[in-house]
């Protein structure tokens, strides 16, 4: 029983980071109806940004993730303006291809700039653990969890409470009527894309202490992000947050009871199960 609870606990800790990644993707999908296949590549960029600050200027990744997120916000907005906006009315087929192209370019650029070597940000916190009764909690994971939670709640509040958030939701609901209500749809789409990318960057920065860094590190996370978003119901931001936690726990239980190498497989099994049994997502409402 302790093993089971410990696995659930570890899953929840990593799940909060998954939630961040998934919420970014859900935001972009909800507002733009574009599935961002480059999501993991942006996450990778966030990791490199955070790593470079650590490596060159000894900035702790737990501060560095914030500038990394801001950089990614700006970069995401540029990518939207240059590459996404021109094709925003093209077929789904073309939009998917475009984000795949962006994904490949980012990974290959990272490979050319930083080389294929593995990097790691060594900070003390990663080796420290807290003990609570029979359970062990990694201090770094706990800190990541706390910071992630702040951003999850922040994004949720922003979308539900603020004026721009209202415009985001209006655009997501109906992008033909939204402009009639005086909403600048292009600006709102740019904002949601940049914000989604920034969240990928923040998640990258927070993941950095726990992972080895290499150019294609993000690929698995692109796929995870899809699984999370599908679990939570395409386009639902709260759904994605819950989906992230569910995925974290599912993975953790799989590695504990079946084996580490199957953790990624459970992602796809869950994904295919949800898609074939309840395509609107576990927590999603039936789509019209």
């Amino acid at each position: 029983m302790t093993t089971f609870l410990q696995a659930c606990l570890d899953g929840l800790l990593i799940g909060a980071l998954y939630a961040l990644i998934g919420m970014g993707l859900a935001l972009i999908f909800g507002v733009m109806r574009i599935v961002n296949f480059a999501h993991g590549a942006f996450l990778m960029l966030g990791m490199y940004a955070s790593f470079l600050m650590f490596d060159r200027y000894q900035i702790n990744p737990y501060y560095g993730f914030l500038p990394a997120g801001i950089l990614l916000f700006i970069f995401g907005y540029l990518v939207y303006k240059l590459l996404i906006q021109p094709i925003r009315n093209r077929s789904e087929f073309m939009q998917i291809l475009m984000t795949i192209g962006i994904d490949l370019i980012l990974i290959d650029l990272a490979q050319l700039t930083f080389g294929a070597d593995y990097h790691q940000a060594n900070i003390d916190l990663v080796n420290r653990s807290l003990h609570a009764g029979p359970f062990t909690i990694n201090a770094a994971s706990l800190l990541s969890f706390g910071l992630a939670a702040v951003f999850i709640v922040g994004l949720q509040q922003f979308v539900m409470r603020s004026r721009p958030g209202q415009a985001l939701r209006a655009t997501a609901q109906n992008r033909d009527v939204a402009p009639l209500m005086g909403i600048n749809v292009i600006r709102i789409q740019g904002l949601s894309f940049a914000l989604g990318i920034a969240f990928a960057g923040i998640a990258g920065g927070l993941l950095l202490p726990a992972l080895y860094l290499f150019p294609s590190v993000g690929e698995d996370y692109t796929l995870k992000a899809f699984v999370i978003v599908v679990l939570g119901g395409m386009g639902s931001i709260e759904g994605a947050a819950i989906g992230g936690l569910v995925l974290g726990v599912a993975e953790s239980l799989t590695s504990t009871y079946i084996g580490n190498q199957w953790a990624l497989a459970i992602d796809f099994v869950l994904f295919l199960l949800v898609l074939s049994l309840k395509p609107s997502g576990i927590f999603g409402r039936q789509r019209a």
Partner: protein, 329 residues
């Protein structure tokens, strides 16, 4: 192009393709083998991705199953050439099961599901005993001796011609018109009485069979397979780009795409070293921005525009499907 003229042209094209057999340059033959193989793969993908308009990024699943099937069956003492056919057959059957599930989904869901299936297979191959895990398997050589690359090149050409014929038949049969109608508007297609799930599945089965054969030849030519060489998503992407660059849903597009992309990446590899990686992504972005119909597709559109006023392709594909359907009855 119809009747005897088509077959004469095809014969001439085959004869031209046989010219490299006179050369003894193994490097050249190896590159040509890959061009022909990926041309065939692009054509096979074109049935699903081009005519039926279903963006599959999981075709590496069939490719890998073909390669692994060949290795596993021969390891269990099945004669080599029978293994080849068995591997393709099994891949097609599994493809049918996959198709049953993924074709219930549309758009991004469909694309994601195809990726997920391919990834599950890759993870399975990397972790199971029968596939040799991450160490991989050695594959039997279908050909040996001096003429190794010549014979492999020739088989790739045969495969490409088969795929081309499948495309040719699709482009002018009722089956193909149904697929195009599905591509243009699936709901309308189903409303006029086309069994959309059934036709999409059929196109996938043909495509999977050809893709698996190509995978088996690829595995055999390079003699050794690991999950990251024959089950990586990169191959799925490469196949799709080849077809899209040339023009998805056109007869000659995938051939043009393979010629350009494989030779370009080979040239860049020698010229720019590591930087050749960038061309795939850059090409995709450029094609999407400036050549959404692909090279052949854009040329065709240009020619068509000069000949007659454009008709809505959706309406015409549906119209043709309907006329054919009525004629059948």
């Amino acid at each position: 192009m119809s009747g005897w003229r088509f077959w004469v042209l095809l014969g001439v094209a085959c004869a031209v393709c046989c010219l490299p057999l006179l050369s003894n340059n193994n490097y050249l033959l190896q590159v040509l083998f890959r061009i022909a193989l990926f041309g065939g793969l692009g054509l096979a993908w074109n049935l699903v991705g081009g005519y039926a308009g279903q963006l599959s990024l999981g075709h590496v699943a069939f490719f890998g199953m073909g390669a692994y099937g060949l290795a596993i069956f021969t390891a269990h003492h099945v004669p080599m050439w029978i293994s080849l056919l068995l591997a393709a057959l099994v891949s097609t059957l599994i493809g049918g099961v996959i198709g049953k599930i993924v074709f219930r989904l549309r758009g991004p869901y469909f694309t994601l599901a195809t990726i997920a299936f391919a990834e599950v297979l890759r993870l399975g191959a990397a972790n199971l005993q029968i596939t040799g895990g991450a160490i991989g398997l050695s594959t039997p050589s279908l050909f040996t001796g001096e003429a190794f690359w010549k014979l492999f090149y020739l088989s790739a050409i045969v495969l490409a011609v088969l795929s081309f014929l499948a495309n040719y038949w699709t482009s002018r049969s009722r089956f193909g018109y149904y697929l195009m109608a599905i591509r243009e508007d699936e709901d309308t297609a189903s409303a006029v009485g086309i069994d959309t799930a059934n036709y999409k599945l059929r196109s996938l089965l043909i495509s999977a069979y050809l893709t698996a054969l190509a995978g088996a030849f690829y595995g055999s030519a390079f003699q050794f397979i690991v999950p990251d060489s024959v089950l990586t998503i990169d191959i799925s992407v490469q196949i799709a780009i080849i077809a899209m660059l040339g023009g998805a849903g056109t007869l000659f597009g995938p051939i043009v795409g393979a010629l350009l992309l494989v030779s370009a990446s080979e040239l860049f590899k020698n010229e720019f070293g590591e930087r050749h990686l960038l061309i795939y992504g850059t090409l995709i972005v450029l094609v999407v921005l400036f050549l959404p119909e692909g090279i052949v597709g854009s040329l065709q559109q240009h020619v068509r525009r000069r000949r007659k006023p454009p008709a809505s392709s959706a309406a015409s594909a549906l119209g043709r499907a309907e006329v054919q359907g009525v004629a059948e009855q």
